[in-house]
């Protein structure tokens, strides 16, 4: 009996030691357009549901979103970026600090626009509602190679883009925006993508 009590005691004592030895990677992502607290807190809530995730924190004012995840799972920053996007949010930058101190940054180096670029500025209608929509539309536009600047006005619903006309077209930019979940005059977002947007981004769909 004494032996059993000793073994149980030894096992119980060992548990905290094992837990303390578990390594975690620190993920830090900068998310844009967290205007509505209901949706912003939703991101935090969605990530909290992942098994093993710890210290989920989002600062609404700065858009800083961070959490830790067991190192053994080898979660990549690309997977996190995709997950954040899937949840309807717009990651602008991010990094992971591995438990051994190595750092991996989000995203590659964006190709620069050619020196002899012929920049044109055009506008297009893009459906959307709020600051979160704005962040997503602008990011989807500026991610298109050849686009130098993009701005979207939530009142007029107009996207104004400046781009190198030798590198891309307004139609290609509209396509990219639709792929991100926003209907344009010429391209409709897929239903599944639209439905995955946060509640505040549930804009009135464009009829074609």
């Amino acid at each position: 009996m004494k032996k059993i009590v000793f073994i149980v005691f030894a096992v119980l004592m060992a548990i905290p030691t094992v837990q303390a030895q578990k390594n975690y990677d620190q993920f830090e992502v900068q998310v844009d357009g967290l205007g509505c607290p209901f949706c912003a807190y939703g991101l935090e809530k969605k990530f909290k549901e992942f098994k093993g995730i710890k210290k989920v924190k989002i600062d609404i004012e700065t858009g800083d979103f961070s959490f830790t995840y067991p190192s053994e799972k080898a979660l990549t920053i690309v997977a996190v970026e995709e997950q954040v996007k899937k949840a309807g949010y717009t990651p602008m930058s991010g990094r992971v600090i591995r438990h051994d101190g190595t750092i991996e940054e989000m995203g590659g180096v964006k190709e620069t626009i050619a020196a002899d670029a012929e920049i044109v500025t055009e506008s297009a209608f893009v459906a959307g509602n709020c600051e979160m929509c704005q962040a997503r539309i602008v990011k989807a536009s500026t991610d298109v190679f050849g686009v130098s600047t993009a701005a979207w006005n939530k009142d007029t619903k107009l996207l104004e883009v400046s781009y190198d006309k030798n590198a891309t077209t307004l139609d290609a930019i509209e396509k990219a925006v639709a792929k991100a979940g926003h209907d344009t005059k010429n391209h409709q977002a897929k239903n599944g993508t639209y439905k995955s947007l946060p509640g505040c981004c549930a804009y009135e769909r464009v009829e074609y």
Binding site: C36, I60, C130
Partner: protein, 290 residues
């Protein structure tokens, strides 16, 4: 003596009639800074106005100048709170709990149903209601113990698309159906009665307050508060100073609006419309008693 009474009554009637003739509306009286607090919810308790500071996971009791008097910390995203004397009802969006604080002592509101991001709570005598955000439904209880549930995700009458706030009145349950951009009214069996505000092109109806004659709605993305009568007819549009409004309450005859991102409360008074001011935005002319 009879004549004196009659004369007195006549004088009162004349005075009331004069009062009725003066066009009044809600006008911005002052702005109260609440530095460091991003108020999502407001409720009037026995000690004054409590604010739920969701961004900083706490409740804050403020004085008339907006200074913090006391706090209740370590909450998980408290949202649209309610109060009854010394009792505070706190929906916690982050951990799916509705907590009850009695003189700052915490108890958890027991529910057989599991919530997913409770965004608003209302207490009316023994009756309680909860806006269950991600489940797109309202929970309601006559006795605060046994709850019925109504609503589902959708756009039809009686459906919800992320309800954020709820208020029980004597005969009805009023719901801020946030991303359907409307207010819905139900009886206490959860039967749909009417919809308000669909013609106003709201963009996120995030907060609601109902008094005996009016319905105040925070139209978050449009930077305005809409004032309807109970039939749903627009009475006034408050825009002056309003920026990302998320909550409206009435306290001691004044209307308080929380400008969520600006850390400030706006205070509106029911006053005579200044001469020469246009009837329209902020000055919509109507008469009724407050």
């Amino acid at each position: 003596m009879k004549y004196i009474y009659s004369l007195f009554t006549l004088l009162i009637m004349i005075s009331c009639a004069e009062k009725e003739d003066i066009a009044k509306n809600w006008q911005l009286s002052k702005t109260i800074p609440i530095t460091g607090v991003n108020a999502i919810g407001m409720a009037v308790g026995s000690e004054g106005i409590w604010l739920s500071d969701g961004d900083h996971n706490r409740l804050v009791l403020i004085n008339d100048e907006g200074k913090t008097v006391k706090t209740i910390d370590s909450l998980d995203r408290p949202m649209h709170i309610d109060a009854a004397e010394d009792i505070l009802y706190v929906p916690q969006y982050g951990n799916d709990e509705v907590s009850v604080f009695i003189k700052e002592e915490k108890e958890v509101f027991m529910l057989s149903d599991s919530l997913d991001a409770p965004a608003g709570v209302s207490s009316y005598n023994q009756e309680k209601a909860i806006a269950d955000f991600y489940n797109h439904r309202i929970l309601y209880s006559k006795d605060g113990k046994d709850f019925i549930s109504f609503g589902k995700e959708g756009k039809a009458h009686g459906d919800f698309y992320y309800p954020t706030d709820v208020q029980i009145t004597e005969n009805n349950i009023w719901v801020a159906d946030a991303y359907n951009n409307r207010i819905q009214v139900f009886d206490k069996q959860g039967t749909f009665l009417k919809v308000i505000g669909v013609d106003q092109k709201m963009n996120a109806a995030t907060g609601i307050f109902v008094n005996p004659t009016e319905v105040f709605v925070a139209d978050f993305e449009n930077d305005r508060v809409l004032v309807f009568n109970h039939e749903g007819v627009l009475q006034q549009e408050l825009t002056k100073g309003v920026e990302k409004p998320i909550e409206v309450i009435q306290h001691q005859g004044q209307v308080f609006v929380s400008n969520y991102r600006k850390s400030e409360l706006l205070v509106f008074d029911w006053k005579a419309i200044p001469e020469g001011e246009n009837v329209g935005e902020d000055t919509h002319n109507h008469n009724h008693n407050h």
